[in-house]
């Protein structure tokens, strides 16, 4: 299923034809730059893909309203894989072989991204992924980039904060879902660099209804100074509630997987004092006035909320960064040749996005460090940036 509006295409053609007839526009203006995208706008990961699809359409409209790139409009060819990696792969092939795109932004899940990478690698077309896992860009593939921070960065941000507060002995409780498992492993990989030690390492199933047994074990472990919970969905909310129930008082760190208002609602009073790394978008109105990201974040938030009537999500932010970054790269390359675009993306330096400030290189196809995260504390049912964590 394609979201490209045929009606708009017809209108565009008619308008272009009218302009041509009037002799007002050069022929090149009607020749759009084709950018492909495959996201999971429906299916089980629709809560990620739906804001992505809406954002991509919004950004494309914004770019065209400003006269396009290099004086040419962009044409966004958007497919919905319904959360199915096999379909994503089919659409990727279609984008390359039939639609003739010059670059690609998309891939909602890590699974879909990994399935599509070989297609774009073979065709030597740059691909900016919107998925989280670190294996997308590590090892570096010359044509593959991504915009969301990795779970490794989140772990590093948490450990930096712990180190600053002198917490060195911790307990872990992680979800056994893909996100929780992957982040737990990333945390274990980098934890040594911070001199922090894991005394107790527990887990819970994504559909578990009660985590008191695991937390009780952590509570009864001598010397635990803080607890980290990599997880996603309702699990972390139940962990937070049980944590308060058992009267655990050491700091609780959640991951960026819970960075949404619904987490505070679900965890209720128990959420007070929880600390987590989160992107700037979450605290758009609380950013300092001299914060470089503030204008970008506020503009995106306002545009998205006006256009869709829904609150922004960090996932839409990844799509915003993906397409904007690509547009900037095409502008800089001065051509729509895939190889030139690729080189320009890799040379991205200090690009201010919604998610962070990107500086890429031949070794780093993400370009975000721990400074792209803000460490937040939950206070009175709202996010409060932790100044000490800066």
């Amino acid at each position: 299923m394609t979201f490209t509006s045929t009606r708009r295409a017809i209108l565009g053609t008619v308008a272009a034809a009218a302009l041509l007839a009037a002799g007002a526009a050069p022929a090149a203006a009607a020749d759009p730059i084709k950018i492909g995208s495959v996201v999971s706008a429906t299916g089980s990961t629709a809560f990620l893909g739906d804001p992505e699809a809406k954002t991509l359409k919004l950004v494309a409209e914004q770019i065209n309203a400003k006269g396009g790139i290099l004086g040419r409009p962009i044409e966004l060819i958007l497919y919905d894989d319904g959360g199915d990696a096999n379909k994503a792969r089919t659409f990727a092939t279609r984008l390359v072989e039939d639609d003739g795109v010059v670059a690609m932004v998309g891939g909602t899940s890590t699974g879909a991204t990994m399935a599509m990478i070989p297609v774009f690698e073979d065709a030597e077309i740059p691909f900016i992924s919107l998925a989280g896992a670190i294996e997308i860009i590590d090892p570096v593939n010359p044509f593959v980039f991504k915009t969301p921070h990795t779970d490794k960065t989140a772990c590093m941000k948490i450990f930096e904060d712990m180190k600053a507060r002198g917490l060195t002995k911790i307990g872990m409780i992680s979800g056994t879902d893909g996100f929780g498992k992957s982040m737990r492993n990333q945390c274990m990989n980098v934890i040594g660099d911070y001199g922090i030690e894991v005394l107790v390492d527990e887990s819970y199933g994504p559909t578990d209804a009660d985590m008191t047994p695991q937390l009780n074990k952590i509570k009864n472990t001598e010397g635990v100074q803080a607890v980290v919970n990599p997880g996603f969905g309702q699990g972390p909310a139940i962990v937070t509630r049980n944590y308060a129930q058992l009267g655990l008082t050491v700091p609780l760190y959640q991951s960026h997987g819970v960075a949404s208002k619904s987490f505070i609602e679900l965890a209720g009073k128990a959420a007070e004092g929880v600390r987590l790394p989160a992107p700037a978008l979450l605290i758009a109105d609380k950013l300092a006035d001299d914060d470089k990201q503030k204008p970008v974040v506020s503009a995106y938030k306002q545009a998205y909320e006006t256009a869709t009537g829904q609150p922004v999500s960090t996932f839409g932010g990844y799509a915003y960064d993906g397409l904007s970054l690509l547009a900037a790269a095409i502008e800089k390359a001065g051509s729509d040749d895939p190889a030139a675009i690729r080189d320009a993306i890799e040379a991205t330096n200090g690009y201010v996005g919604v998610t962070g400030i990107y500086t890429m290189s031949a070794e780093d196809h993400l370009g975000l460090g721990t400074e792209s995260f803000h460490l937040l504390r939950i206070e009175n049912g709202d996010w409060v940036p932790e100044a000490a964590a800066k």
Binding site: D210, Q214, N216, I238, A244, L266, G268
Partner: protein, 290 residues
């Protein structure tokens, strides 16, 4: 000691919900020979219905009442539209019908409600009570008390009222029941309505602790089914003991052994019970019709 108590209460709370779901399985199985895999979805309808009715401005008791009635209507429709037209079909066909119904209910719930997680406020505060060093949520007591009251009420209904006795008679022998003038169709509908009401009540009681979502019924159906199997499919006492046993085993497994094997502990128990006592702990020939 405090750890033991903590794990015990934690296990009993979740186990009580498994037991109520298992009891729903038992009621329907006894009356109609159907293993109703949509049983867990009644739990979801109870919880989600109450959440949305409260969001619409109703008070908790009113919202809960309407949600339970809603579940009963869904239960009756399930019987009338899906089970009854397939009368005489093989048990496997009937199981497939209920699985299909469960998928349908979940799909409809996504549209009627939404795809987000929701929670209900705790009935009497969220401050844990300290009992011998174990922190217990007041809501856990609500769940346990609610489960006990439902069991007793059901027991009294089945043994002390004429309608209840007619239901037992239908379960024991449908043909004989019809011969003595019992309206078997009404009795089967009653069994579906009752199990739906029990599932929905369980869902409302437990929603403040476990949260609820359109697809929460699946896991409760699986665990409730396991509880019914351990206890002996068809035995109400078995449903109670099986549910509590699985809840406690899960909690102790996660607390004393390893959380990595939590689900394995419960399923190991089922295998063990089924190997040693194929009819389950309380299964006996008396509930089986030939």
């Amino acid at each position: 000691m405090s750890e033991f108590l903590q794990l015990l209460i934690s296990g009993l709370t979740v186990g009580a919900v498994y037991a109520l779901v298992a009891l729903g399985f038992t009621l329907i199985y006894n009356a109609s020979d159907v293993i109703n895999f949509a049983q867990g979805d009644f739990v979801m309808i109870g919880g989600m219905g109450t959440v949305f009715l409260m969001a619409a401005g109703l008070s908790l008791p009113i919202a809960a009442l309407i949600a339970v009635l809603g579940a009963v209507i869904v239960g009756l429709l399930l019987h009338r539209l899906a089970i009854e037209p397939a009368r005489g079909a093989s048990p496997v066909t009937l199981i497939m019908i209920t699985i299909g119904a469960s998928i349908f209910i979940r799909g409809a719930a996504q549209i009627v409600f939404d795809k987000q997680f929701h929670t209900l406020p705790a009935f009497s505060g969220a401050d844990p009570i300290n009992i011998a060093g174990a922190a217990i949520l007041p809501q856990s007591l609500w769940v346990l008390a609610g489960a006990i009251i439902l069991f007793v009420a059901l027991y009294l209904f089945l043994t002390r009222t004429l309608t209840g006795k007619a239901l037992i008679a239908t379960a024991a022998n449908r043909l004989a029941a019809r011969l003595v003038g019992i309206n078997v169709r009404v009795m089967l509908g009653l069994a579906f309505g009752l199990s739906a009401a029990m599932g929905a009540l369980a869902g409302i009681l437990v929603a403040p602790i476990t949260l609820t979502r359109y697809d929460i019924g699946l896991i409760f159906a699986l665990k409730g089914f396991a509880a019914a199997m351990v206890g002996g499919m068809g035995s109400p006492q078995g449903a109670l003991v099986g549910g509590l046993l699985i809840g406690i085993l899960e909690a102790f497994g996660a607390g004393y052994i390893s959380s990595a094997y939590k689900d394995a502990v419960a399923f190991l128990a089922i295998l063990l019970v089924l190997f040693v006592m194929p009819r389950g702990l309380f299964g006996s020939k008396s509930v089986e019709r030939v």
